[in-house]
Symmetry: C2
Subunit: 193 residues, 2 copies
Amino acid sequence: MRYDAEHKARTRQRVLKEAARSLRLHGPAHVAVADVMRGAGLTHGGFYAHFASKDDLLAHAVATMFEDAQASFERLTADKPPREALRDYIASYLSPRHCTGRDAGCPIAALGSDVPRLTGATRQAFEEGTALLAQGIAGLLAQLGTPDPGEASVSVLSELVGGLVLARLAADAAQAQALLAACRTQLLKRLQL
Amino acid sequence: MRYDAEHKARTRQRVLKEAARSLRLHGPAHVAVADVMRGAGLTHGGFYAHFASKDDLLAHAVATMFEDAQASFERLTADKPPREALRDYIASYLSPRHCTGRDAGCPIAALGSDVPRLTGATRQAFEEGTALLAQGIAGLLAQLGTPDPGEASVSVLSELVGGLVLARLAADAAQAQALLAACRTQLLKRLQL
DNA sequence: TGTACATCAGTGAACGCGCGTTCACTGATGTAC
DNA sequence: TGTACATCAGTGAACGCGCGTTCACTGATGTAC
């Protein structure tokens, strides 16, 4: 077929995007190479022209997910006073939209309990991405004058992640909404936002 | 072989215990029927004398896990003033031991992000178990005179679950310890314990 | 300018392994007579 | 009391499916001459 120079890179991105979607939705064990390729408009045989193995795909998919998460953090917080930035990030993280849209959003909430079972590059991508998110929150807290912003940021991130996980396992939508609202209220109160 | 009347029930409990262990450690997708049976000292063929399917096993294993979690909550909080009870539960939940011992402990931290992918009885067992745990915490908060204990309890449970998940995905033990300590400190502070 | 060849992303059949599930069988012991 | 039969938890071989991985092939287009 002979495509132009960037064709392969574009295809790879398409596969990665679909893999990230499938990974959040179905978890590492149920991401099927053939399904991902089909989702990207290809057949499974071509997979190994782009990735060395399913593990290799997962590692890069996790990195992609954290790039998205970081971009989302920037988009919600850049060029805003820290109080407003943090309020907006919390509101977005604990929003019904984030709770319902399981094929997008925070990788930690989507895959958190699978991480201890991951190894190598996939696991490392997770560690690094998480640390970066915590740093982002710590930066906002520091600007707000919070004492020990590093400590406070992991506590805040814990409640965000835990709150979203609990909301997603609630019995019905009403309970999920109530749970998200409870965490939002408590976070705003304890951070005096 | 013809065993006594309770033999089968005992064997079933042994299989369930091993399944719960494997489930926390490896996740629903990687629990292998043959491995669980071997762990219980049996061969895989006998499995269907005890359970209708792997799904059936998982549902009962989840129920078992939450019975353990509830028992652990009772053990840590019964016959104590509410302040001490809550302090002890938080200290135990966010302890290095709980963080390291992934084959035991809280099912929500071990499987939280897998729950949205579960269905039927397994999922329901999760919902009910989680609600019961939240109620337990709410009861202690009510005794402490916390305003809106129901709201506060899900917020606390969120930070507990999120904190343990984040600690388990930390890059090394020192970081995990620091993260657990941060959540403990912040929780005690915001609950004025 | 035209022709033969090289390239390489993508195709689809095939392989092999892991694992859930089935099934004929075992053998110790309880029960009927 | 002794004997024949029934019971049933547990065994281990076998089946079949899903899925990761391999591989020979395709065919459009770039390149060498």
